[in-house]
């Protein structure tokens, strides 16, 4: 273990996931590499279908289908040094909930409709402990009040259909926290919720992450959410990570044309009376992809050589800075950013949470 490894809690190295289909193999995760550090919030943004969810799940060792194949490695340094992708259900069981936990995208379908809320949280509590029944009960109540479910003693007897979407997501957060995990993967945790609840759930997540010192991967297609709370951001396009940088750097000096185009398309980027900038074309279908850069058909800086280029993540600004970009022209391009379009706040959690900073979905 090198010095720099010491505080890395999760490392993905060149991960690919492929699903065979009658139309040809689909590649939702294509050579994704990333590192998550102790206590860090890493954001992942990308359009629908850019491979965010499958990437997240592969970080926990879950495959999208029994027929899916994978290459590359995911490790939890010092905890699971074998490839998480190959360990299997049985070997991963003691780490799930205990070291790494997930908060799902759709709270409405993520709890079993036939079991009571309390029983479902208790199942997670019991998974990694030898507590007595009474102790487990009080831990359930404690978890429920920690995530902001009012009158937990009463509500633990409810069934999921008696809970609102926000309350269900709080329940799922309680389940994720039950085993005191060090890494939390939140896969678009607020997408299915309405705007006011979204802010509440995000604040709760950030509070918990700080209090418990967890590392958090936060997936979103909402750049404003990412800008508020993440330390570093990865941008995904067509199953690939196209740029990874600190939030500040990504917002001020994007290196990849897709990131720049994404930032320009945010509503704050242009004066109110002008139409919003858009990215022409549509994101690629992930079946039988041609070689070369994925963004070629939509890129405004494209050169013929881009279509041949075997893409790779190029370190920028020195390896220690940890920025990566997948563009062969990144050094020569002077990508413009919207002047003061995006307000990036260095201390996001302390800011007024009355409303999102930039209120539109990227892409």
């Amino acid at each position: 273990m090198t010095e720099c490894d010491r505080n890395v809690v999760l490392r993905a190295d060149d991960v690919c996931v492929q699903i065979p289909t009658p139309a040809g193999p689909v590649t939702p995760v294509d050579h994704v590499s990333l590192e998550l550090r102790q206590g860090e919030v890493l954001g992942i943004v990308g359009e629908t279908g850019s491979g965010k969810t499958v990437t997240c799940r592969s970080l926990l060792g879950l495959m999208p289908s029994p027929r899916a194949t994978h290459t590359g490695t995911v490790t939890y340094p010092g905890v699971v040094d074998d490839n998480v992708l190959a360990v299997g259900r049985k070997g991963m069981r003691r780490h799930w909930g205990n070291y790494i936990a997930m908060i799902p995208q759709n709270p409405m379908t993520s709890l079993n409709p036939v079991h009571r809320i309390g029983a479902q949280i208790e199942e997670a509590v019991a998974a990694h402990s030898t507590m007595s029944r009474a102790e487990r009960r009080s831990r359930v109540v404690e978890l429920m009040s920690r995530v902001g479910i009012p009158v937990p003693e009463k509500r633990l007897r409810d069934f999921p259909h008696q809970f609102s979407g926000g309350m269900l997501q709080r329940t799922l957060i309680a389940i994720a926290l039950a085993g005191n995990p060090q890494v939390l993967v939140a896969d678009e945790p607020t997408t299915a919720l309405d705007v006011i609840i979204q802010d509440q759930i995000l604040s709760l997540l950030i509070d918990l992450q700080r209090d418990l010192g967890m590392s958090l991967i936060l997936v979103s297609h909402d750049l404003s959410v990412i800008a508020q709370i993440c330390d570093r951001v990865g941008v995904m396009y067509g199953g690939q990570l196209v740029e990874l940088a600190s939030t500040e750097r990504l917002l001020r000096r994007p290196q990849h044309p897709y990131t720049a185009a994404l930032l320009k398309s945010l509503p704050g980027a242009v004066p109110r009376n002008e139409p919003l900038a858009t990215i022409t074309g549509a994101p690629p279908r992930l079946v039988n992809l041609p070689p070369g850069c994925r963004f070629v058909p939509r890129c405004s800086h494209v050169e013929p050589a881009c279509a041949e280029w075997e893409t790779e993540l190029i370190p920028v600004g020195g390896a220690a800075r940890g920025s990566l970009v997948r563009c062969r022209r990144h050094a020569e391009l002077e990508l413009s950013t919207p002047a003061d379009g995006i307000s990036y706040d260095a201390t996001p959690a302390e800011t007024d949470r009355s409303g999102p900073i930039v209120g539109v979905h990227a892409g």
Partner: protein
């Protein structure tokens, strides 16, 4: 709870259905060619004798009057008096009911015993060797007519390797069980194919449910995920399939009881039809129909009991 009001409403809805069934069963047997009086007299037939018998059975009265008598007898539970057997229909039913219910219960038991493990295992290991070979057996089991299967079983276990009784019902509980093994397996095999299929697809569907992922990622044992989250939930939809098909099983007993000479309601019905024993046919048809309705009602009740979303309305 709202779900139980639903059961109450179902009960009320049953009334017109039952009235409809009495009319159908009354009319159908009278449409069938053949006159009970002629059949009773047989070789001793004379027109005067036949008229005499018709008069004594009340068959000379108008159809409306006859229907009214049938309704009145049905309400008292006697369903009238058999033409050919010296007993009331209610009495005949109560005599044959035991064997038939025993047969249905054992067939249901064998069906569950066969289809739950097979369906769950095939679903959990979709596309595996077990799942593939199950599919072939399902096809055979489904396509095989019940009486043929019964005859094959009789040949194998009754004649070639005579280890099981092949006809009758026996006396005493254990003897009943022994006598009903072959007939109930004959009923259970085609029934299981239906259930295995729906259980398998239900398990496959449930496995990809988000809540199963949630359960898995808690880090609980896989066995617990399967039992509490996959089988428990997949079972809910299969209970309905089981109930609906259990009703069809009642029809199957009619054939199987004859193949295995079991003195149940099925044998009674076949004999009554061939002798044009109107009261017995009417009474049994009504009784079978009520039984099917009752099973459906029970299925709904079970469904409400195991699915908290229904109980709440």
């Amino acid at each position: 709870m709202a779900g139980w009001h639903l059961i109450g409403r179902r009960l009320v809805q049953l009334i017109p259905i039952v009235v409809g069934i009495t009319i159908v069963s009354f009319v159908l047997i009278r449409i069938v060619p053949g006159d009970p009086a002629t059949l009773i007299l047989g070789n001793h037939y004379t027109p005067e004798g036949a008229a005499q018998i018709r008069k004594s059975l009340g068959l000379d009265q108008s159809v409306i009057v006859q229907y009214g008598r049938f309704l009145r007898s049905a309400l008292t539970g006697s369903f009238g008096h058999s033409y050919s057997l010296d007993a009331s229909v209610g009495h005949l039913i109560s005599r044959g009911l035991g064997a038939t219910l025993f047969l249905i219960a054992m067939a249901g038991f064998f069906t569950a015993l066969l289809s739950i493990p097979i369906g769950v295992f095939a679903g959990l290991h979709r596309g595996g060797i077990f799942d593939q070979s199950t599919r072939v057996f399902l096809l055979i089991g489904f396509a095989l007519p019940g009486f043929l299967l019964g005859v094959v079983l009789i040949l194998v276990f009754g004649v070639k390797v005579p280890i099981l009784p092949i006809n009758g019902y026996g006396t005493g509980f254990l003897s009943h069980v022994r006598h009903l093994i072959l007939p109930s397996i004959t009923l259970a095999i085609p029934f299981s194919t239906v259930l295995v299929r729906s259980l398998r697809s239900s398990v496959i569907e449930t496995m990809s449910a988000d809540y199963v992922t949630t359960a898995l990622l808690k880090g609980i044992p896989w066995r617990r995920v399967v039992l509490r989250h996959i089988v428990r939930n997949a079972g809910m939809s299969v209970v309905v399939v089981f109930g609906v098909n259990l009703a069809f099983l009642v029809g199957g007993t009619v054939v199987i009881e004859n193949v295995f000479s079991i003195p149940g309601l099925g044998s009674l019905l076949v004999n009554a039809v061939s002798t044009r024993d109107y009261p017995v046919v009417q009474g049994l048809t009504l009784f079978f129909a009520l039984f099917v309705l009752l099973v459906n009602l029970l299925t709904d009740a079970v469904h409400i009991a195991i699915d908290p979303r229904l109980a709440a309305g």
